[in-house]
């Protein structure tokens, strides 16, 4: 049987995680190819609905990657994102979707290796959890 390859949406802040992903590429670092990056101007731009829509449309996992705490270009966007991620985790948990499918990470633009690590860590986590319950119901359907 073909091994399950998760689809993970990564909302990456342009000032840190996106630049770190760029750096990971420049450094020729190898990391799990399961990450689909969505560039955002700040993680504070990410709303609850963006994360829910990703899950609704079949993402097996969603990660939000923002600046280190205290290092947000817009001062507190990453703290807003942290609260929203926590809120979404709670909502999903209550309808029976594993909270671990959504996670917030913090890193700086200089941390290319850390980005690769996060991508691998999240991919492993989702592989352990298995496909999203939404995709399990329609396993032949490619939703993304």
């Amino acid at each position: 049987m073909k091994e399950f390859e998760p689809k993970i949406i990564a909302f990456c802040c342009q000032y840190c995680a996106y630049a770190a992903a760029d750096l990971a590429g420049s450094m020729r670092l190898k990391y799990a190819p399961n990450i689909r990056i969505v560039l955002v101007p700040c993680t504070g731009r990410i709303d609850v609905i963006h994360i829910l829509r990703a899950v609704e449309n079949g993402a097996d996992g969603v990660l939000v990657a923002g600046c280190l705490e205290g290092g947000c270009h817009f001062v507190e966007g990453n703290f807003k994102a942290k609260n929203r991620v926590r809120y979404v985790k709670n909502l999903l948990g209550r309808i029976g979707i594993e909270e671990e499918r959504v996670e917030m990470f913090n890193l700086s633009s200089a941390e290319g290796p850390r980005f690769a690590e996060i991508a691998n860590e999240m991919t492993e986590r989702i592989k352990t959890l298995g496909p999203s319950p939404l995709r399990r119901e329609n396993s032949t359907e490619e939703n993304i």
């Binding site: 609850v48 609905i49 829910l52 829509r53 909502l91 209550r94 309808i95 029976g96 979707i97 319950p133």
Partner: protein, 222 residues
Amino acid sequence: MIIAEMKPIEEILDMIRSYQRILIVGCKGCVAVCSTGGPKEVSVLGSLLRIARKKEGRDIVIDEESLDRQCEPEFVDLAGDKVADADAVLSLACGAGVQMFAERFQDKVVLPGCNTTFLGVTEELGVWSERCAGCGNCILDKTAGLCPIARCSKQLLNGPCGGSMNGKCEISKDVDCVWQLIIDRLTRLNRLEMLEEIFPVKDWSPAGHGGPRKMVREDLKT
């Protein structure tokens, strides 16, 4: 404004269990300001319900709409076409809005998505607290602009009671004693002598104890 909070998602899922197509209707009035039933919350709830139903393997079609106000028939009627297509309407308005919907669409199932909680203010983003009990006979002129009906746990008119300690109410250290606040404010205003006036027994009939309330302005009626 009227403050409401979203019902637990489990309760909403249970309410819509037998329906295949629902219309979620938000209100851009009070419930939008308290981040409970505005357009954004309609989208979030819609997405959440679709996820939950998809997970159960029972897809659901959800239409979304947000009206300027759900407490006025002119606005509610605008949703007519979408209401016609739905098996049931899930309203995120306050109780008044839900009932206006039910009145205007007599043969449609209308469900409440929120619990209407109180009349209050925004203390800060994400924090709302009660200020008015709608008692129908305002006494704020006599209590330094702070309402003991809404904010005293015992609704005392001649407080404080013996449970007031260090400015807090005995029910919780997080609840201010409003009579302490009234005294502090009257002191600042140099009007402490106002407390010498004793409030008589309150007439609760305008507070709804005399039956459902209604206001009629003959000059505005058509």
